[in-house]
C-alpha cells in the first residue's frame, strides 16, 4: 500500500489580528514590516493585493519543488489554514489547488478543508472553491453574541457569519465545521448556551468547541486585568453544557475540543494526533515526515530566501537530493533558513504517540503501540497506566487505552506522566 500524506498550506494573512490570536498571521499590507531594504525588492510592488500575489507565487514554487520528495505518497487530506485563507481570491485558491493536483498523487476520496472567516468571501466564490476541489469548510464563528465578538477583536458580527454560512451551504458544501469558544471575557453560561443552540440549529457536520487560552504576548493576555473572565466554576459549567448539549444533538466528542456527526470526524486533524506524515507549505508551516519534525522560516524574508535557495540547489527535479532529505531532513544552505528541525528518537516517538493519541476520546491502541515500537506498552508505560487508572483518569478496555472524562479535563497532568525522565 502507498504511504499516506497530508498537506497543510498556510495563508498568514488576515484582515485584522484578533486579540487572543497567537498564530503566525498579520494583515496583508504589513508583510514588509521588519524586512531589510534589499529583501523588500522581493516584494517591490507595494499593495496588499500584490503582497498576497507574491506569497501565492512562493507557495506555488515551494509546492512544486517539494513534489519529488513525496512522489511515493498518496495525499489523503489537504488543509488550507491561516490566518484567513478566504482573503485569497478564488482564482488564487484554485491555482494553489491546481499546483498540488498536478504535482502530487491525490487520493480519490481526499478531504480538502479550507478555513474561512465571516465577511471575507464574495458572492459566487464558494462555488469556485468547490470547483477547485475543496470539499470541507471550517468557519470561525467563536460566539453568536456580538458584544462578545467585539470584545475579542473579531471583525464580524453574528449576522455576517449567517450570511457566510448560507452562501457556503447554497454553494453546495456538505461538510462544514463551526468554531466556537468558551471562557470568553464577559461571557456567562447563559450566553454560551445561546451560542450553542444557535450553532446546532444550523446543523453543521462538525463543531470545534475550544476554551479560550490566554497566550502570552497577545493583547488579551497583556490586558487581562481589564477584562472580566468567567469564574473557574462557570467555565467548568460551560464545559459540562458543551458535552451534554452537543451529545443530545447527535454530535459525539472525539477529541478534547472536537465534536462531529457520524462519519464527519476531521481526517486532517486526526493525522496530527495519530502521528501520520504531514508536510506544511508556506510561512512558518510545520511538517512531520517519517519522524522528522521541522518548520519553515517564519519571516517572509527568510521564507523567500529559503524557496529561492532550494530551487537553485535542487532544481525542479532534484530526485537524489530529495531522497537525501527524506532520510536525513534538510541540510546545506536551505537548512540555514529552517528555524527548527528535529529527528525524533524512539522515546520521543513513544511520548508523542501517547500524549497526542490520548487527546482523542478513543485513545490509543496497545497493539498498534507494540507493532510500531516492538515492545508491549505495559513494559514501557505499565506503571504510569496503572497509576492513572487508580486515579480514575484512564481506562483500559481490551486493546484501547483512553482517558476518562475527568482524565480529559486534567489531561496535561495525565499526559506529562508519559514523558521520560
Amino acid at each position: 500500500m502507498m504511504e499516506e500524506l497530508s498537506i497543510y498550506i498556510h495563508i498568514p494573512f488576515c484582515v485584522k489580528k484578533c486579540l487572543y490570536c497567537d498564530f503566525l498571521s498579520f494583515p496583508a499590507g504589513e508583510v514588509k514590516r521588519g524586512m531589510t531594504e534589499r529583501k523588500t525588492a522581493l516584494f517591490d510592488n507595494g499593495t496588499a493585493e500584490d503582497d498576497i500575489e507574491h506569497y501565492v507565487n512562493l507557495l506555488h514554487r515551494e509546492i512544486m519543488l517539494s513534489a519529488e520528495i513525496y512522489k511515493k505518497y498518496q495525499v489523503i487530506s489537504i488543509f488550507l489554514g491561516g490566518g484567513t485563507p478566504s482573503l485569497l481570491t478564488a482564482h488564487q485558491i484554485s491555482r494553489i489547488m491546481e499546483t498540488v493536483r498536478s504535482h502530487y498523487r491525490v487520493a480519490q476520496n481526499v478531504e480538502i478543508t479550507m478555513e474561512m472567516n465571516p465577511g471575507t468571501i464574495d458572492n459566487g466564490e464558494p462555488e469556485k472553491y468547490i470547483t477547485s476541489g475543496i470539499n470541507r469548510v471550517s468557519i470561525g464563528l467563536q460566539s453568536a453574541d456580538d458584544e462578545e465578538l467585539r470584545r475579542i477583536g473579531r471583525i464580524h458580527d453574528y449576522a455576517a457569519f449567517l450570511k457566510t454560512y448560507d452562501m457556503v451551504r447554497m454553494a453546495g458544501f456538505r461538510n462544514v465545521n463551526i468554531d466556537i469558544m468558551a471562557a470568553l471575557p464577559g461571557q456567562d453560561t447563559a450566553s454560551y448556551e445561546r451560542t450553542l443552540r444557535k450553532v446546532t440549529a444550523l446543523a453543521p457536520e462538525h463543531i470545534s468547541a475550544y476554551s479560550l487560552i490566554l497566550e502570552e504576548g497577545t493583547p488579551l493576555y497583556e490586558r487581562q486585568s481589564e477584562y472580566s473572565f468567567p469564574t473557574e466554576e462557570e467555565e467548568q459549567e460551560m464545559d459540562r453544557i458543551t458535552r451534554q448539549y452537543l451529545a443530545s444533538c447527535g454530535y459525539h466528542r472525539y477529541e478534547i475540543s472536537n465534536y462531529a456527526g457520524d462519519g464527519y470526524e476531521c481526517r486532517h486533524n486526526k493525522v496530527y494526533w495519530q502521528r501520520g506524515d504531514y508536510v506544511g507549505f508556506g510561512l512558518g508551516a510545520s511538517s512531520m515526515v517519517q519522524n522528522v519534525r521541522w518548520s519553515n522560516p517564519d519571516t517572509m524574508e527568510n521564507y523567500a530566501m529559503y524557496v529561492t535557495s532550494a530551487e537553485a540547489k535542487w532544481g525542479y527535479d532534484g530526485a537524489e537530493h530529495c531522497q537525501f532529505i527524506k532520510v536525513n531532513g534538510l541540510s546545506g544552505t536551505e537548512a540555514g533558513y529552517i528555524p527548527y528541525r528535529q529527528v525524533l528518537s524512539r522515546q520521543e516517538q513513544m511520548e508523542e504517540y501517547m500524549f497526542l493519541g490520548l487527546r482523542m476520546v478513543c485513545g490509543v491502541s496497545a497493539a498498534k503501540f507494540e507493532q510500531i515500537f516492538g515492545s508491549p506498552i505495559e513494559g514501557v508505560y505499565g506503571e504510569t497506566i496503572d497509576r492513572l487508572r487508580r486515579q480514575e483518569l484512564l481506562v483500559r478496555d481490551g486493546d484501547g487505552i483512553r482517558l476518562t472524562e475527568r482524565g480529559l479535563d486534567v489531561s496535561n497532568y495525565a499526559m506529562a506522566q508519559f514523558l521520560f525522565d
Binding site: S257, Y272, S287, L356, V410, N412, L419
Partner: protein, 604 residues
Amino acid sequence: MAAIDQSKIRNFCIVAHIDHGKSTLADRIIEKTGLLTSREMQAQVLDNMELERERGITIKAQAVRIVYNAKDGNEYIFNLIDTPGHVDFNYEVSRSLAACDGAILVVDAAQGIEAQTLANVYLALDHDLDVFPVINKIDLPSAEPERVKNEIEDVIGIEAQDAPMISAKNGIGIEEVLEAVVEKIPAPKGSPDNPLQALIFDSVYDSYKGVIVFCRIMEGRVSKGTPIRMMATGATAEVVEVGYFGAGQFIPCEELSAGMVGYLTASIKNVKDTAVGDTVTDVNNPCAEPLPGYKKVNSMVYCGMYPADGAKYPDLRDALEKLQLNDASLHYEPETSIALGFGFRCGFLGLLHLEIIQERLEREYNLDLVTTAPGVIYRVHKTDGTMIELTNPSNLPDPAQIDYMEEPVVSAEIMVTTEFIGSIMQLCQERRGRYISTEYIEATRALLKYELPLNEIIYDFFDALKSRSRGYASFDYELKGYEESKLVKLDILINHDEVDALSFIVHADSAYERGRKMCEKLKDEIPRHLFEIPIQAAVGGKIIARETVKAMRKDVLAKCYGGDITRKKKLLEKQKEGKKRMRQVGNVEIPQSAFMSVLKLDDN
C-alpha cells in the same frame, strides 16, 4: 633581626557601629603607613572574603601589622586588629578586644552614638582598653560634630573635645589619628622572660599549614620548635612557624615575644583545638594560670539544612565539614526528616551567622538548600526529673512526660529617637518583651532596655525595628539566661499528614496567629492536586487553623494541531520538571519553596 622595642608597639582596634566607617578608616591607616600603594589596595583590605565585602560587614576578626614613622622621629609598629561588627559575634569581639591595649572609637558625625556603639565601647572599657574617639564623616552636609562630641562625653564619659575630625572616605585627618594612636594608646606590658601566655583571638584553617592561630603574646616568647599546649582544650603541638600579619598575607619571623601580635602554626588539624579565648603556653615552662575570659561558644540558633536534591547529601556533608574547619562556632549533626529526607541540624551563633553559612554553602559549594525554620534551644524538664536541650522540634517528648519548658531570654538595648519610643515599645510588647528601663541619652534619644525571649527576635525583629523607626533604631543584645515559659509545639498537617520539617516551638499565646499565617502561606505555595488538600495547624492534636487547596478542575490544552506539537510538549516537560523538584509527603507534592516561605511570615 633587630629586637623590637616593646615601647614602640601599639596594639589596638577600631570600634564603631555598622556603617560608621570602621573598615574605611582601617584602609586609610594602612594606606598612610605606606605598607601598600593605592594601586594595591582593594577597596577594603581587611575584609578579604568576597561575602564580607558584599554585605559590608566584617565576619571574621583579622589583623594587620604596619609600620608608622611618627612625628617624634621614631618608628612604631601598629597591630590593628579588626573586630566583627555584629552582635552574633560578640564573644569573638570580646577576645579581639582582649588582644588590644587600646581602641579607636569611630562615631559618625551625623548619626551620633548608637546602641551597638555603646555596646562595643562598654565592652572595650570592660577590657581596660584606653579608648579615644574620632569623629568621622565630618564632610557630610548633615554632620554635627560638636553635638556628637558632647554626646560622647555625656553618654560614654570619655574626653572628646580634642577628638580628630576626619573623613575616612576622603582621607581627611588620618595623620592626626595615627599620632593619637602613638600618644593615647599605651605600649603593651609583659615580660619576654616570663612563661609563655598567649591569647588566641582567631584562627583560620589552611590546607597546607593546618590551623593558623592568631594570638597576642601577653607574657613570654614563642618560636619555631616551642612545644605548646592550649590550656582549655588541652591540645598540644610543636610550633612550626611564627610570624606577623602583612596586609592580606602571613610573614614569618624568628620569634614572637611579649606585647606582640602574630600567628603561629603547629600542624594542628582542627580549629576546634584552638578555641578563641584559649591560652597558649609552653609545655616545658607553663604559666600558672590561663588568661581570664575564656568560654565555650554555644550555638544560639538551630535549623535543619537539607540538599534540595537528595543525591547531594554527601556534598553537603563535605561542605559543612570544610566550613567547620574554619568556623568552630558552626555545629552540625545528621538528621532525617520524613518530608525532606537526609540532612543536618545545624547550630549557629545567631541568624546572621546562619545566613552567612547558608550563602557560603550555596555560593562557594554550589548547593541548593532547603532550610527549616530557625529555632532556639529549649530546655525541656521532664517529669522524671531529667532535662533535655531541644534543638529540633520533632524531638519534643510526649506532653505527658513534660513537667515544664524553659526558653532563652536576652537582655536587649535599643537606642531610638524619642519620637519612635512608642512604636518600639509596642513592638517589644508584641514580642513578649519585659520592660526594664528607659534612659534618656539626650533630649531626643533614649536607650530602651528590655528582656526578650530569643525566639521572638531571631526571625525578623531587626527588620521590624528598622521599619518602625524609619531606620533610626539600633539594637544590641546578650544572652541573659533561661526562663520558664508556656511553650507548645505547633504542627502542620497537610492532607492529614504531619509534616515534620514544618513543626516548630512557639509560645502558647502566639500559636493561633502563627498557625493561621502558616496555613495561609502554604495554601499559596502548594499547587492544586487532583483532590482537595486540607492544610491544618495543630497544637497537641487540636486543630487551630485550616486552609484548603482546592482540587484541580481543569488542566488542559484546548488546541493541539500540527504546528503546536513541539511547543505543547515543552509545556508538558515543564510540568513534569516542576513535579520532580517537589517533596512528596503522603500523596501530596510540596514544592521546596513552601518550606522556605514559612520563614518569612511577617512580610506582608
